[in-house]
Symmetry: C2
Subunit: 403 residues, 2 copies
């Protein structure tokens, strides 16, 4: 019996967008949904009450980080992640594959899921010790970024760790290739990911407790034939949902092409999760292409650096222009921060390095994104998506270009 159910209740007649309810052992998630990221069992700076209050219905935690610290055994003794972090709503854990990539190969080459993902922003530095990871058929051997200890993750180990963590949705272990990988290497890695997908399914099949829905991950980089082959293969397996992972090319246009190749080949009646993506404009491009779930550290990470979303683009609250600004971050915003505090006070908190700054900024950015996805759902329901999209992007992107 599946652990999750995905009930589509509305289809957009003009696109692949759909409205649905993803039911999990810890409650429902309205989709399309943005999933706040709580890497180390904490959505950085927020208490669970606050995530819920801003409209978050599900959080994503990172298996790689939690496996290394504090350890899955330890979390299991606290009743799994739900008990450990005091969040009794749905949780999804990733498989560890992406972090092995991003903290190994990715760090070495200074690239993200899209080669030019964070233009102008600081990238993790290459590790001086060369490759942190070694990949073979069995799995991945890697060195902890915390203490240098050596670890092996395999599909079976990843599933076992995720069972200890106890999330409602878990992901199959995959090899996440870089935008710099060749066609040949990307194909080889994809086929390995397919064999690992079968092993992940086999490993999960043995267990009945906790009840968890296993999602597969489509790979294939930025290569059309590989993405199509992977979508057909992974989509043909009995996963409860499908995630799209790996390199999405060198630009957002590349990413959209990957979705155009991939999504139509996935089974229609199962949820689709675009891993690691979630800028404001992405929802307008990817939801019509049939994506149901998004997760991304950008809203929370940007917030901690003072980058705040507004309908007129992103502002950096540390800028001296906001010294005397008595307005909220965004006029009319219903977030905790905008209901109480001015830009001038927030700027002071950032400049003075007060801890409250990071939380207030995070609360605004997450509420901005969650509300945006709520608004997109409403617009799809009411048949006004095209107008809402035009109005939002016209203002958001125009202001950004003018800035």
């Amino acid at each position: 019996m599946p652990a999750t159910h995905f009930r589509i209740h509305h289809r957009d007649p003009h696109s692949h967008a759909r409205l649905a309810l993803l039911e999990t052992p810890h409650g429902p998630v309205q989709t399309p949904a943005f999933i706040p990221v709580g890497t180390q069992a904490s959505v950085k700076s927020l208490a669970p009450d606050e995530v819920l209050a801003l409209g978050g219905e599900i959080v994503l935690c990172n298996t790689y980080h939690l496996y290394l610290r504090p350890g899955a055994d330890l979390i299991a003794t606290f009743g799994g992640l739900h008990g450990f972090m005091a969040w009794d709503r749905p949780i999804i854990t990733d498989s560890g594959g992406f972090q092995v990539f991003s903290l190994g190969f990715g760090i070495e080459h200074g690239v993200g899921k899209i080669a030019a993902m964070f233009p102008g922003e600081s990238q993790p530095k290459p590790s001086p010790g060369g490759r942190l990871t070694r990949i073979d058929e069995e799995g991945v051997t890697f060195i902890s970024h915390i203490d240098g200890s050596r670890h092996v993750l395999t599909p079976e180990k990843s599933v076992a760790v995720q069972q200890q963590l106890g999330a409602d949705v878990i992901l199959a272990f995959d090899e996440c290739t870089s935008p710099l990988s060749s066609y040949e290497y990307t194909r080889e890695a994809m086929h390995r990911t397919h064999r690992w997908a079968l092993r992940s399914l086999q490993a999960a099949r043995g267990s009945t407790s906790p009840r968890q829905g296993l999602f597969g991950i489509v790979q294939g980089g930025e290569y059309r034939d590989l993405r199509e082959e992977s979508a057909r293969f992974i989509g043909g397996l009995p996963f409860e949902g499908l995630a799209i992972g790996g390199s999405l090319g060198k630009s957002k246009c590349d990413m959209h092409r990957v979705l155009d190749w991939t999504v139509p080949l996935l089974p229609d009646e199962r949820p689709r999760h675009l891993l690691g993506i979630g800028d404001p404009d992405d929802f307008f491009e990817c939801i019509p292409r049939g994506i149901d779930l998004f997760d991304c550290v950008a809203p929370t990470r940007l917030a901690r650096h003072g980058g705040l979303y507004t309908p007129d683009g992103r502002l950096n609250i540390r800028n001296a222009a906001y010294r005397l600004d008595t307005r909220p971050i965004q006029d009319g915003c219903d977030c905790f921060t905008c209901q109480r505090f001015t830009r001038g006070y927030l700027r002071h908190l950032f400049v003075a390095e007060e801890l409250l700054a990071y939380r207030l900024a995070t609360l605004h950015n997450l509420r901005f994104i969650v509300r945006l996805v709520e608004q997109i759902r409403a617009a799809l329901r009411q048949g006004t998506f095209a107008a809402f999209r035009y109005a939002f992007l016209h203002r958001y992107v125009a202001a950004r270009k003018g800035a």
Copy 2:
């Protein structure tokens, strides 16, 4: 017309303790009270709602820090501190005198208000550039710890800055001597503080807006004749309250002797504030000696380093002993943190350097202290103070000695 009123409604027949209501332009404060410190217009890591929810009725902000950054002019344009930090309850600002001392002379010599105040804990390091401050009859010239710029604070300037900040209670500008100061220097500084007290009163007298109660500060170090002289002099001036500042000696016993010399000479009907003191055991010693108001950074600072109060003494949550501990910090505690989270989860947040750690620890420590003072008020009202004191200290101090 005074800005504040102090109404004593109960006197302990066995000590100098009293229960009172300090009424201010922004509402009442039940005394004895502990005042959380929001140095830079933020009680570190907390939103104003949280300070209120844990029972905080008044906060103290530091004039020295706010004068340097973001500046009193700027805060005035936001409607003063109340508007700036979105706290519409009572606020007290200090005069800047203590910070000039602690960031100048204090840093140079690595001492606090009590010479052995933080045994075994890290002390601020002496500045390499020698004395940061120069004191003369006019006031204090000092170098900003932020950008090295040169500033002068005088009694008139301190009052003017505090008027811009707009707190309900402000303090007269004083020179805060160190426990290492000689008798001669302490006397000279005390007489200067007395002359500055007259100038502070004169400066405040001219203004009617905002309505602020000016408190004077008793100095005199650890010398009985000086403390008595200062208590008589400052107590004889038309201040709305009296604060006890400066060096309190080399031990807590010295501090208690200073109170025994000073408090009986102060006018009975006005509030008495012991500046910068607030360990759990201090309330049991100082309230019976007639102290009404306490402020201290210890609960918030310790929290950020993982030091958490319990009835059995302080624990350091970073200790590996708490890895698998599924209990709250304190059984039965009504704080936000203990109602939701385990010691094991808190330890993980500290070890992983998650921002949430500092807030959850701060919420517990402040609630612990505020509740302790609430319990002391209740015990005084019910005539059970002696029993409560014995029970608390027996457990708290005994456990600490055993640790």
